[in-house]
């Protein structure tokens, strides 16, 4: 298949893939009475920025954004911290119970959210962490860790042992070697993992809904969910919120794209 044909095909595919999102964007500018009408239109004369403006009156989205930023950033940092240490241990050490522990991390992804939520809720309540950023951060970290460890494990094993051995010969301790040699080499992979973790936390809905209750701690997905009312779903404002809050993760993804792919190429395939 020649290159020109591929380009045309790719353009078409991109358009098709973006369709639901484009429709959401179109909806985000319409007044409520035009959201579901026959025949459906992409552009209408009564389009405006009103839904974008109204959504901030309807719900305190600036506070939700602050919460989402705090939670997602902290969860990412914590996940990377705990995850790197664990992945390093798996990648560089031989020890008893290694396989069992790897399996344990895989297993922790197999419980559905609805099963985990009530015990978690009771635990957070007992620890005084209910309706706090800290509580949600801890839960998100725990949920993100298994996959993070798996990814980082791949990146670390991809780094040849000789590089590390050279550092050890030069007089570094194991931990110093980790800090000075391995981490810089693994940076693309860590960047990729950071992106996964950030996205996972930023978009997480179910736990955020049940484990937070006040506006000060609620995150953006919970806010978006509130547009689904008991009588009417305020589609246009919901679409506006969706569009607006897809931008930060998209920008992050754009910024990290190259490191992302390079990082995965280097490591995840081990």
């Amino acid at each position: 298949m020649n290159r020109r044909l591929s380009i045309i095909l790719l353009a078409l595919v991109t358009l098709v893939v973006l369709l639901p999102f484009l429709w959401t964007v179109a909806t985000s500018f319409k007044p409520l009475r035009e959201v579901n009408r026959y025949p459906p239109v992409w552009i209408s004369p009564s389009m405006s920025l009103e839904p974008y403006r109204d959504m901030f009156f309807y719900l305190p989205f600036s506070r939700y954004t602050a919460s989402s930023l705090i939670v997602a950033t902290s969860a990412t940092v914590l996940t990377l911290g705990a995850g790197s240490m664990a992945a390093f241990a798996f990648a560089r050490f031989r020890f008893r119970g290694k396989r069992a522990l790897l399996l344990l991390f895989l297993l922790s992804q197999m419980l559905p959210g609805a099963s985990v939520i009530v015990p978690l809720f009771q635990l957070l309540r007992a620890a005084g962490l209910y309706d706090t950023h800290a509580g949600l951060i801890l839960v998100h970290t725990a949920v993100l860790l298994p996959f993070t460890i798996w990814l980082l494990h791949g990146f670390f094993t991809a780094i040849p042992v000789e590089v590390e051995d050279a550092a050890l010969i030069d007089g570094c301790s194991r931990l110093q070697a980790l800090r000075k040699v391995i981490l810089p080499l693994a940076l693309p992979g860590i960047g990729a993992t950071a992106l996964f973790a950030f996205l996972g936390s930023w978009n997480e809905f179910f736990f955020a809904l049940i484990l937070t209750t006040s506006d000060a701690t609620r995150t953006i997905p919970v806010g978006i969910g509130q547009f689904v009312g008991e009588f009417e779903d305020v589609w246009n404002q919901m679409a506006a919120a969706a569009v607006l809050f897809s931008i930060p993760p998209l920008l992050l993804f754009a910024a990290m794209r190259r490191t992302f792919v390079r990082g995965l190429a280097a490591g995840a395939l081990q």
Partner: protein, 427 residues
């Protein structure tokens, strides 16, 4: 340097004592759902309460109605929860009876407070010997008829089942000539399991059938009147094709869209419908009439029951400040507060006699219909498992009968059997 340190130390020592002086009682008030106007009104009402009661601080949280059970479950399983919350009155059976709500009849002034309300409405908050809340918004299920479509066809809103069926048939038309109908007589809320049950059961009730015996020991969904009601709708769907085909996926949003765009002529709704339609297409008119009765019972149509639903405000049995909570409850639900339900469209009907008999009430055109229907409406049987039965047993079987997977009699027999097993603990 030293004076600064001394000042800081004094401040540090003084601050805790400042906190200790703040003896304010804090009440947590959760409000689930509600129209924006109701939420606004609630906020102002709570603010004026705090002005009148300086020692009390009310923390109000607005929450999603769709997640009410998850959120309350999480709280109650830990023995906590808001001091005041608005819930369906049938939670009195489910939660009140189990000791989660405070029996407000134990407050000294309850007898006087009780007198504010229309009797059947305050009775809805009762379970056993106790009352577990104060009624907030009254709902009766009625039939709404698209005025434009009815007038165009020259027919009046139906009163009996045969009129209902005939009207639906006449109002199902292909208006754009492409060979496929695009206007339907009846739209059903099939995608909302709880909501669907609320809209079908009124037909059962109008036919004299009851979901359960009064002693709550026997399920009677397969009573002849009920089966006949189900057969009516099933025939309308399968034979007349006058029910919207995609109804199994519809929620209130779709119902609103279809009604406003004149693709649906009738729906079974409640007091929220006016505001809902107004938001989407201002000025759209519709007739509000009682749910039709079977032909043979047309004589007693005026006293035939429809489904009553009620939202009540309840106090947490474990609230550390029940007396203050009671004060707030009364303030939110007294006759003065209730007038807001008359003066503004808050999506439901008022519950106090004073409000309903006020001159302003007389000026509202569909209020008399609701008030008349509420006078002999029946709530769901006060069994703790009624909600589960309605949404997970009654609705699926009824829907299967309507689309033709099973006969109406067979469906209701199955539903009755499963529901009976559920209340006897065998499922």
């Amino acid at each position: 340097m030293r004076p600064i340190i001394v000042a800081l130390a004094a401040l540090a020592l003084g601050l805790p004592s400042c906190a200790r002086n703040d003896q304010a009682v804090v009440l947590n008030d959760w409000n689930f759902g509600g129209r924006p106007r109701l939420i606004e009104w609630l906020r102002t009402r709570v603010d004026s309460f705090q002005v009148a009661h300086p020692g009390v601080r009310v923390v109000q949280s607005q929450k999603s109605w769709n997640m009410i059970r998850e959120l309350l479950y999480a709280e109650y399983s830990c023995g906590t929860g808001p001091d005041i919350v608005n819930v369906h009155a049938n939670y009195a059976a489910e939660f009140g009876g189990a000791g989660y709500y405070y029996p407000v009849n134990t407050f000294p002034d309850f007898a006087q407070v009780k007198g504010w309300y229309v009797p059947c409405m305050i009775e809805a908050t009762r379970y056993g010997d106790n009352y577990y809340g104060l009624p907030s918004s009254a709902i009766a299920f009625v039939l709404v008829c698209n005025k434009e479509l009815f007038d165009r066809e020259g027919i009046a809103p139906p009163r009996t089942w045969s009129e209902f069926r005939a009207a639906a048939r006449r109002l199902t038309r292909d208006t754009d000539g492409d060979g496929v109908p695009d206007q339907y007589g009846l739209v059903l809320l099939g995608g909302d399991r709880g909501g669907f049950a609320y809209r079908l059961i009124p037909f059962f009730l109008k036919a004299g059938a009851r979901p359960m015996t009064d002693d709550l020991k026997t399920v009677t969904l397969n009573a002849p009147g009920g089966v006949a009601a189900l057969r009516l709708i099933a025939d309308m769907y399968q034979v007349d094709h006058s029910v919207t085909p995609g109804f199994l996926a519809y929620s209130l949003t779709e119902v609103n869209d279809l009604f406003c765009s004149n693709r649906a002529a009738m729906s079974i709704e409640g007091p929220w419908f006016r505001g809902m339609v107004d938001d989407k297409c201002p000025g759209k008119k519709f007739y509000t009439v009682p749910v039709p009765v079977p032909d043979e019972l047309a004589g007693g149509a005026d006293t035939a029951a429809t489904l009553q639903d009620m939202v009540m405000y309840a106090i947490n049995a474990r609230s550390p400040h029940p007396e203050q909570a009671w004060e707030l409850l009364k303030y939110l639900r007294n006759e003065e507060a209730d007038m807001a339900w008359i003066r503004q469209d808050l999506g439901a009907t008022a519950t106090t006699r004073a409000a309903l008999e006020s001159p302003e009430a007389a000026a509202l055109d569909d209020l008399p219909v609701y008030v008349r229907e509420l006078a002999h409406a029946r709530p769901w049987p006060a069994h703790p498992k009624m909600i589960a039965i309605a949404s997970d047993i009654f609705t699926p079987w009824a829907e299967k009968a309507i689309v033709g997977e099973i006969s109406p009699a067979g469906a209701m027999d199955q539903a009755t059997r499963e529901a009976q097993e559920l209340i006897e603990g065998k499922r």
